[in-house]
């Protein structure tokens, strides 16, 4: 177990470093990397344009840039944002609470609803049609509309995130539960006259544990993806909004810093859920 833990941490770190490099390379090769909107300004002279372009020369070689960047990152310095001209670390620190709160509330809401509805569906299969239609409807509405309606109704933005995450979590956990409920040993237990609560808990939910854990890590990631969209539309000053702006503004230090930071969060979330599900599986097979 300890060995597995150690290996997992090492590979997570390697993944993280790769992620940052991939983001930096992608931004570097994306068109418009070193063009400023002021190049369209009819007043700007050729000499000024030349000097503006020369100022960006330090970011041209991506490998040496990334090497320097990682050295700084190890010291806790994520560089200075080009578009905001302030340290990236400060920007993230300032905006992180907004996003963490949004993601936490959205995830909690989505998971609670998803598990409750999935269980209800297994307990009362008659709900199937209604719930199918509900999820189909929720999958078919763009998040932009949900966000706009929340803005107009001045509702909580986290509700939008919960709505966006719910259908996937629900479909997935319902599938797992239904599969478990249909398994031979579960049916046999039911036939033995086990109480509904114990039957659901022991034969439907409990065996789904590892698979649910696997998707828990993923849902953290999906929540961050949703936060980008919702924060942008609802103008919530979180890190999600910042990530999109960094890419659109071709802000290399900010984007790499954001990717490393968000990558660290998601890679560790995935690693933790992986290890937890590994532990669950092993402890059970050891029974």
């Amino acid at each position: 177990m300890r060995n597995a833990l150690f290996r997992r941490i090492l590979s997570s770190l390697a993944t993280l470093a790769l992620t940052g490099l991939a983001a930096a390379t992608l931004l570097r090769v994306a068109p418009g990397f070193d063009v400023e909107a002021s190049e369209l300004d009819g007043r700007t002279s050729a000499e000024t344009l030349r000097q503006m372009r020369a100022a960006r020369a330090g970011e041209q070689d991506i490998l040496s840039f990334y090497g320097r960047y990682l050295q700084g990152a190890l010291r806790g310095d994520l560089g200075k944002s080009r578009s905001y001209e302030v340290p990236v670390m400060g920007l993230i620190r300032e905006r992180l609470p907004v996003t963490l709160r949004l993601i936490a509330l959205g995830l909690a809401g989505a998971w609670t609803l998803a598990l409750l509805f999935a269980l209800a569906n297994v307990a009362w299969p008659g709900l199937n049609t209604g719930l199918n239609l509900l999820t189909a409807g929720m999958l078919s509405v763009p998040a932009g509309l949900v966000a706009l309606l929340i803005l107009i109704g001045q509702g909580p933005v986290a509700l939008g995130l919960a709505i966006a995450l719910f259908p996937k979590l629900f479909s997935y956990s319902r599938g797992l539960f239904q599969q478990n409920a249909g398994a031979g040993y579960a049916l046999a237990a039911r036939a033995r006259g086990l109480s509904a609560g114990r039957y659901l808990g022991r034969y439907v939910v409990w065996p789904a544990g590892p698979a649910l854990l696997a998707i828990l890590g993923l849902s953290v990631n999906a929540a961050f993806g949703g936060a980008i969209l919702l924060e942008t539309i609802c103008d919530l000053p979180g890190v999600g909004q910042l990530a999109l702006q960094a890419a659109l503004a071709r802000d290399l230090p900010l984007l790499v810093g954001m990717t490393l930071f968000v990558g660290a969060l998601t890679v560790s979330a995935n690693a933790v859920t992986d290890l937890a599900s590994l532990y669950l599986v092993r402890s059970r097979s050891g029974q």
Partner: protein, 265 residues
Amino acid sequence: MKRLAAGLLIALALAMVAGQFLVPARYDQQFRESTDALPGGDHPLGTDELGRDRAARLLAGARVSLLLAPAASVLAIALAAMLGLSAGWFGGWWDRVVTTLIDLMISVPIFLVLITARAVLPLNVSPISSVMITFLLLGLLGWAGSARVIRGACQTHLNSDYILRALASGSSRTRILLVHLLPNLWPVLRTQFILAVPGFILDEANLSLLGLGVAEPLPSLGSLLKELTHLPSSANWVGLAAPALLLAITVGAFEFLLPPKEGAS
């Protein structure tokens, strides 16, 4: 219920094929004297802000998206199944490679790939080929989440009693894979597929921000769904909501038609 769902899908397929006969207007014809028209008369769903018939656009958009999104989903899920299954099955270093790849795909801002993809595409590609390329890219890049889920499910099953029993009774590995594992993974694959279809359709709409959405004058379900955000200030809510309704019906019909499980052991 299944019959109803099948009936709806067949009706939809017929409508898409026979679109020209149902709605006489072309999807790109601009009736400039009647822009933003309400439903009725010549235009059953009204017209959009350029005076184009919403019904014609809905049928054309549905044709584009409902053919391409499932295709992209099949591609993505196939990739996911191949990687997730092999990672779970072989384990070891291959598992670590796949896990790293998945984490990388999830954490890296993929839309930078899409921006770059637009940049290397020639400018004079027809709208239909550009939207096909978009869905192809979505399919090629959208497998990571599903792969992770499939890998997780695969591991769970490999450790479960029935596989262990099958192994103990001396079944060959191929037999275990084909007879025991795959059928049990079916519900996961099915769910991932059904979720991916509307996901890709909406993704395509959001890509218009990066210039990779469908090109004028071709409509797609995604670009039509995006107009839903005008709902609060528009009088034509029927015309605006119709694409969402169509998509919901299609997704719902898939839910009923694809059996949730197959040969549970």
